[in-house]
């Protein structure tokens, strides 16, 4: 069920076939890729988000910008898409034919190691190496840094911000993980602050720390009974680890909070653009609508909607039912033609349903630029594929 767009990509049809896919004078992505400093791609799983992010980055690099694409997807899809075997926690140049060897543009890629990034943040804000070591060795911290949902995405934003501040790149394109938590980074600064500033929680674990202030003493008595209960539920070792973590973390809170504010502000800055990626299926478009509304609620700059894998049918004259019946009854060629007509009807219906769903979504998000990409005949897993995808994204 490829479409005429897919055929166009293979060069078997006129290049004009794809023109109808992109409304307006030009792709809304072109402006973003030329001028934005940060592009964040978000959307549900399996919609081609990683390929889209990589294709946007590749296009920007070819347009002369120093570009870096980051993925925080634990599956190494971007690595596959870019033909890289290994991505480290620092950007590496993408080496491939066709990339500008001299010109101003360049393309780097990295896959974020969440845990490593968290460790780096700890090292940066710790008073001294000793404090950092105590935190890094804490088992509670180790679990926290590798498992806490949202915090991981937040750490990705930390890394993004760090790269942004380094001024090494004109454009950073970031791919978010394909989970419901993909936007958790919006809440993560607050959650993380809540966690690290959990004075109430410290009361629970009071015996692990000294609570000096007089007015807390009364509370402390009450919490001791509670602490006993918590210990019975969780086992004392877990609690001790948690207590030690908070003791070790003492004093780092303010730095974290300030940093979180800076990251958040950068995401809201007009030089950042969020690109929501979807497919024309119901579930993916509903997720896209959720992302769009969530971004709007946080006043994050929503740049464009990309809908991948659009089906398209070309016009064919209507054949009345009577003629179809005669076809179906008339030898092998007639039956084949009747089947081809039915396949075409199915494709037409599917394409119409997709367009209706996309329109329904757009009706809920005013003034959102949309780019529709036809179903491509092959999975995108190399630079040639990314370029082909880019032709549609930036048509």
């Amino acid at each position: 069920m490829t479409t005429r767009g897919a055929a166009a990509a293979k060069g078997t049809r006129g290049a004009g076939a794809s023109a109808a896919l992109v409304p307006g004078p030009g792709s809304p992505l072109a402006g973003l890729a030329r001028s934005a400093r940060i592009i964040v791609c978000c959307g549900s799983g399996g919609v081609g988000k990683t390929s889209t992010a990589a294709a946007v980055a590749l296009w920007a690099a070819q347009a002369g910008r120093r570009t870096c694409v980051l993925t925080i997807d634990p599956a190494r899809r971007l690595a596959q898409a870019l033909g890289l075997d290994l991505l480290s926690n620092a950007p590496r140049p993408v080496r491939a034919k066709g990339l500008p060897a001299r010109g101003p543009g360049s393309l780097d890629a990295m896959m974020l190691d969440m845990r490593r990034t968290f460790d780096e943040v700890i090292e940066r804000y710790a008073r001294d190496a000793d404090q950092a070591d105590r935190i890094l060795a804490n088992r509670f911290y180790q679990r926290l840094s590798s498992t806490l949902a949202g915090t991981q995405e937040y750490m990705a934003m930390e890394k993004l911000y760090e790269l942004h501040e380094s001024q090494r790149y004109d454009l950073l394109v970031v791919d978010t993980p394909p989970t419901r938590s993909a936007l958790d980074f919006l809440d993560a600064p607050e959650n993380l602050n809540e966690l690290l500033d959990a004075r109430a929680f410290r009361l629970l674990i009071a015996p692990a720390q000294r609570i000096g202030r007089g007015y807390l003493r009364g509370l402390n008595l009450a919490t001791t009974a509670m602490t006993k209960m918590v210990r019975r539920v969780t086992g004392s070792e877990l609690l001790a680890e948690v207590g030690e973590f908070f003791a070790a973390f003492e004093g780092m809170y303010d730095g974290f909070k300030a940093r979180a504010g800076l990251v958040y502000d950068q995401l809201k800055h007009p030089s950042t653009a969020f690109v929501v990626v979807a497919t024309p299926e119901g579930a993916a478009l509903r997720e896209a609508a959720y992302f769009a509304s969530r971004l709007a609620a946080d006043r994050m700059p929503l740049g464009a909607l990309v809908v991948n894998r659009i089906h398209q049918a070309r016009p064919v004259p209507e054949v009345p039912a009577a003629a179809r019946r005669r076809l179906a009854a008339d030898g092998a060629d007639g039956r084949l033609l009747a089947d081809l007509l039915e396949l075409h009807d199915g494709l037409e219906t599917l394409a119409a349903a997709e367009q209706r769903r996309v329109r329904d979504l757009l009706a809920t998000v005013p003034n959102l630029g949309v780019v529709q990409v036809p179903l491509l005949p092959d999975d995108v897993h190399d630079l040639a594929g990314l370029r082909r995808l880019g032709e549609y994204l930036f048509a």
Binding site: A6, A7, S44, R77, L195, R232, E241, R314, L327, G334
Partner: protein, 363 residues
């Protein structure tokens, strides 16, 4: 696989994002309920994916009836924490936590604790004994879990174990052991993975199967979703010649009085060729999948309503999942099996598996 539907206490459905995991979970629930079992379908990711599939606005932490013998539930970590504490006689602590607004903090802060509580709740529902007259929800024959995606499912299911490493004694340890007993028991638990006939999902499915098996979890099979129907079969071989010269089709069209000129016929042939390329690619990928599954059962489902969602899609999905056991073929058998039409559907355009939306055309 029918056997699994009739026998398992817990069906865990996982898969790469976007492969129809939630719809398959809902379909399995409807199919099992249709076969007379009392079923709970539970989601744990706070997505409210089940609600729409069962035609409801939202689900909450209460088990609500969504069909005959069928309940649904969106498991919530906060609520599970309250329930958990109450069960172990710590109701006052639960109240205190609520008072101090600490529930969310605790479930968010203690790594994996949220998962422990979610898995614990699923385990509780799957092993619940009916207590008539208690007012508590009844027992189930089967719990279908719409689990986190493949990348996260092993840490999720093993979260009780992971946290219990820190708590060598006490209720957490005790519960972790019992959860593990259920999850590791192939007589009671079956893990299914959803997949699409596309490159990355196939790779990720095979990786997921390996990771689950490595972790000792009983993988029961793979559901290959949205497989494009091969309408033309062997006749597809004629398309290349017809693209060059559509004369035979033109003759048939003229004989039947269908007004199709050369350009229209060319379009029809091109569209069919594009579709056939997809069919060929999907066949190749499904063959790779079968080979990699090394004998695990696998079922191919047709491209349904294109992810439209809603009860109708779930009903159709359930019909496909509850087809006679023979359709679940061991992965070692050769691929290429034609998909069954929806039983009873006439061989008309409405039954073209690839485009069931045809029925939606007037809407």
């Amino acid at each position: 696989m029918l056997e699994v539907l009739d026998r398992a206490r817990l069906l865990v459905v996982t898969g790469k994002g976007g492969t129809g995991k939630t719809t398959v979970a809902a379909g399995l629930g409807v199919a099992a309920a249709g076969r007379g079992r009392r079923v709970l379908v539970a989601e744990v990711e706070g997505r409210q994916g089940l609600a729409g599939l069962f035609g409801r606005g939202e689900l909450d932490y209460r088990e609500v009836r969504v069909g005959e013998r069928l309940n649904a539930l969106a498991v919530d970590p906060d609520e599970s924490l309250r329930e958990y504490l109450a069960r172990y006689g710590f109701a006052p602590l639960a109240r205190l936590l609520s008072w101090a607004n600490l529930n969310r903090f605790i479930t968010a802060a203690a790594p994996g604790l949220g998962d422990v509580l979610l898995v614990g709740k699923v385990w509780e529902a799957a092993t619940r004994q009916a207590r008539p007259g208690s007012g508590a929800p009844g027992a189930y024959d089967l719990v279908v879990l719409d689990a986190p995606p493949t990348g996260r499912v092993v840490p999720f299911l093993r979260a009780p174990e992971t946290v219990a490493e820190l708590a060598r004694v006490g209720p957490i340890r005790h519960q972790a052991d019992r959860v593990r007993d259920l999850l590791d028991d192939p007589e009671r638990t079956a893990v299914l993975l959803t997949c699409l006939p596309e490159e990355l999902p196939v790779t990720e499915t095979l990786e997921g199967v390996a990771a689950l098996q490595q972790a000792g979890l009983p993988v029961a099979g793979v559901v290959a979703n949205r497989v494009t129907g091969d309408r033309l079969g062997g006749r597809a071989g004629r398309l290349a010649a017809l693209a060059r010269d559509p004369a035979p089709l033109a003759a048939a069209a003229a004989a039947a009085g269908a007004e199709l000129d050369r350009a229209a016929l060319g379009t029809l042939v091109e569209e069919a060729r594009d579709r056939q390329r997809v069919v060929t690619r999907e066949r190749r990928l499904l063959k790779e999948l079968r080979a990699g599954l090394d004998g695990l059962p696998m079922i191919e489902l047709p491209f349904l309503a294109g992810g439209v969602g809603g009860p109708e899609e779930v009903r159709v999905m359930a019909g496909h999942l509850a087809t006679p056991a023979g359709l679940w073929t061991a992965a070692s058998t050769p691929s290429g099996r034609r998909l069954p039409s929806r039983s009873g559907a006439p061989a008309s355009r409405g039954s073209d598996d690839a485009h069931p939306e045809a029925g939606e055309a007037g809407g």
